[in-house]
């Protein structure tokens, strides 16, 4: 796997680099460390930053080093799009919605523009044993599971596939079987959610990865966070399947919230 690790001097960057080291050790391939500086005069500073990181993380000792000058998110996206990389890794600082509106968020900008999957890291992990794949129930989840399965297969990790149901009955007499049932009930009874999860588990099995379906009930973001915290996952996989036109205008973007506040590494699949 060809990794592109984007860095600056922030603590979050260090976390991203540490996690990249774990991945690089588990997933054979190449690694490129990229420093983005804002002015040409800062290029040497960028090179020094890269050199210090290269020596601090032995697993990345063989990584290529590049410095680009310009706007951080734009340069990372441009580098990611040159055809030499399979995955981008960068750090993320937690931000309030107001801060995001006023200042912007590099990780979200990169996620929106990158042609390859992106891993956003708040806090690093020392191993890759448990992966959590989140599915909204759409067909896009297939690519999420395929990407996660490839990583899990190489790392010898297991997979859990999570679907959150936040629906409630609008009337007291709404027929709503299964709103408080576990995933196994849904799979056994062939509900739409059960069939969806069973299909995704089969995809994982095809890659030689054991996958377990999970259904939670409550607000989508809250339940993703609760599941991610409860079982000590090393990597959470979500989709960022951009909708265009009216759908993009009307529909909420859960991925942005997850990236901004979840303190596990998050792999965003497009």
């Amino acid at each position: 796997m060809r990794l592109l690790i984007a860095i600056d001097l922030s603590p979050e960057s260090s976390e991203a680099v540490r996690f990249a080291g774990v991945l690089h050790a588990l997933l054979p391939g190449t690694a490129t460390l990229l420093a983005v500086v804002h002015h040409e005069q800062e290029r040497s500073q960028g090179r020094e930053m890269l050199a210090s990181i290269g020596s601090a993380v032995p697993d990345l000792g063989d990584a290529q080093q590049r410095v680009r000058v310009g706007k951080t998110a734009d340069e990372i996206v441009a580098e990611a799009g040159n055809g030499e990389h399979d995955l981008v890794i960068l750090g993320q600082r937690g931000q309030s919605r107001l801060a995001q509106m006023l200042i912007g968020n590099t990780a979200i900008q990169v996620m929106a523009g990158s042609p390859v999957p992106v891993i956003v890291v708040h806090d690093s992990r020392s191993a890759l044993r448990h992966l959590l794949v989140c599915t909204s129930g759409s067909d896009y989840a297939r690519s999420n599971v395929e990407q996660a399965s490839r990583i899990a297969a190489r790392a010898g990790a297991d997979l859990r596939i999570l679907h959150v149901m936040s629906q409630i009955d609008v009337t007291p007499s709404s027929p709503a079987p299964g709103l408080d049932k576990p995933a196994s009930w849904h799979v056994a009874n062939g509900t739409p959610e059960g069939e969806h999860l069973a299909g995704l588990c089969r995809i994982a099995e095809e890659h030689g990865v054991h996958a377990e379906p999970v259904i939670r009930y409550g607000l989508v973001v809250d339940e993703i966070f609760a599941e991610a915290r409860s079982n000590d996952y090393d990597l959470v996989v979500v989709g960022a399947h951009h909708r265009h036109g009216l759908a993009g205008f009307l529909l909420d973007d859960v991925t942005k919230t997850v990236i901004s506040h979840l303190r596990r590494p998050v792999l965003i699949v497009r």
Binding site: R97, L98, S136, G137, S166, Q167, I168, D169, V170, T171, P172, S173, S174, P175, A176, L179, D180, G218, L219, V220, V221, D222, L250, L251, D252, V254, T257
Partner: protein, 329 residues
């Protein structure tokens, strides 16, 4: 026409009600007025007639603008209980699970948590007088008044003042019932929007939808009922419902605003507008700055309430006890 007739009856009889309100019930401050409007909505099983009564009392001078505002706010809090009562009936009948009450409890909690901070905003609006420039009265009233006045005067002469007021209240209940029947039966069969149960819409999208739908239905519970044919199996995502209810809570005041414009006192429309603007301001602030946190807290409150019948009973006791306590402050 029925509305105007009802309001004129209430106006004619309001003089007899003032001693009842001020002396017997001792509604003498904002808290009392809030509790009075709340309980009145329970008694009438609807918030709009209670709000109309508040405006009639303002017109008579029995209530100040602030007290009228509080009574109207209380009527909104009381209106939400009906949804819960209907659901509770199913539960206590033993045929439904507690989860079936989720929509009723959710509706109540959302309205209350927005309404309470909105009280302060509305109070400031009225005290500062920023909306005092708004003045509108339906000029058609003069024509209608010429027609109905002889009838009103006859009834006023024949019956005691209290009876005239009660007749006015019964007439306005009839008027609202006729309005419900006359509104178009919205039955969207879902071309495109039938993804409502599976997709997560942006908060402001559902908020505006709630406002738009309730502009037509004039009722939060009817607006919620409309969601049923739009969703498979009558299920809607909580993230979509909460901002939808917030939106419904704004334009549900439209009928009260219209009624206020039918009275002579310009303070009436200003008071109702203050209620709408204050709810809009608080809702907009929550959606912009605290949407996720607010939804989480509401969800936790609803889940706690429906965890057991004991919690539900405690919740219902609070909803009945708080207005009674406010009435005696």
């Amino acid at each position: 026409m029925v509305f105007i007739f009802a309001l004129q009856l209430m106006q004619a009889g309001a003089g007899a009600i003032e001693p009842l309100v001020r002396t017997t019930l001792e509604v003498s401050n904002a808290a009392n007025a809030l509790g009075f409007g709340w309980i009145l909505a329970y008694v009438l099983l609807s918030g709009s007639p209670a709000a109309a009564i508040a405006l009639a009392l303002l017109e008579e001078g029995a209530l100040s603008s602030i007290e009228t505002y509080m009574m109207i706010a209380g009527s909104r809090l009381g209106a939400s209980l009906f949804v819960l009562l209907v659901g509770s009936y199913y539960v206590w009948r033993g045929s439904e699970r507690l989860r079936g009450l989720t929509i009723g409890v959710l509706s109540l909690v959302v309205v209350a948590t927005i309404q309470i901070p909105a009280l302060g905003v509305g109070y400031l609006i009225l005290r500062t007088g920023v909306l005092d420039g708004f003045s509108y009265r339906f000029t058609a009233l003069d024509t209608i008044d010429r027609i109905s006045r002889p009838v009103i005067d006859r009834i006023d002469g024949a019956l005691p003042e209290e009876a005239v007021f009660i007749l006015g209240v019964l007439t306005i209940l009839l008027a609202f019932r006729l309005l419900d029947y006359s509104l178009p039966q919205f039955r969207a069969e879902g071309d495109g929007i039938d993804t409502l149960p599976t997709m997560l819409y942006r908060g402001w999208v559902m908020f505006l939808l709630g406002m738009a739908v309730t502009l037509v239905t004039l009722s939060v519970s009817v607006s919620l009922g409309i969601l049923v044919p739009l969703s498979a199996k009558g299920l809607i995502r909580r993230e979509n419902l909460i901002p939808y209810i917030m939106g419904c809570n704004i334009t549900t005041y439209i009928d009260t605003l219209v009624i206020a414009m039918l009275f002579d006192d310009p303070a009436g429309p200003v008071t109702v507008l203050a209620a709408m603007v204050s709810n809009l301001a608080v809702s907009a602030a929550v959606l912009m700055f605290w949407s996720s946190g607010y939804q989480s807290r509401i969800n936790q409150a609803v889940d706690w309430t429906l965890e057991s019948r004991r919690h539900l009973l405690l919740f219902a006791t609070l909803m009945l006890g708080i207005p009674l306590i406010l009435l005696v402050i």
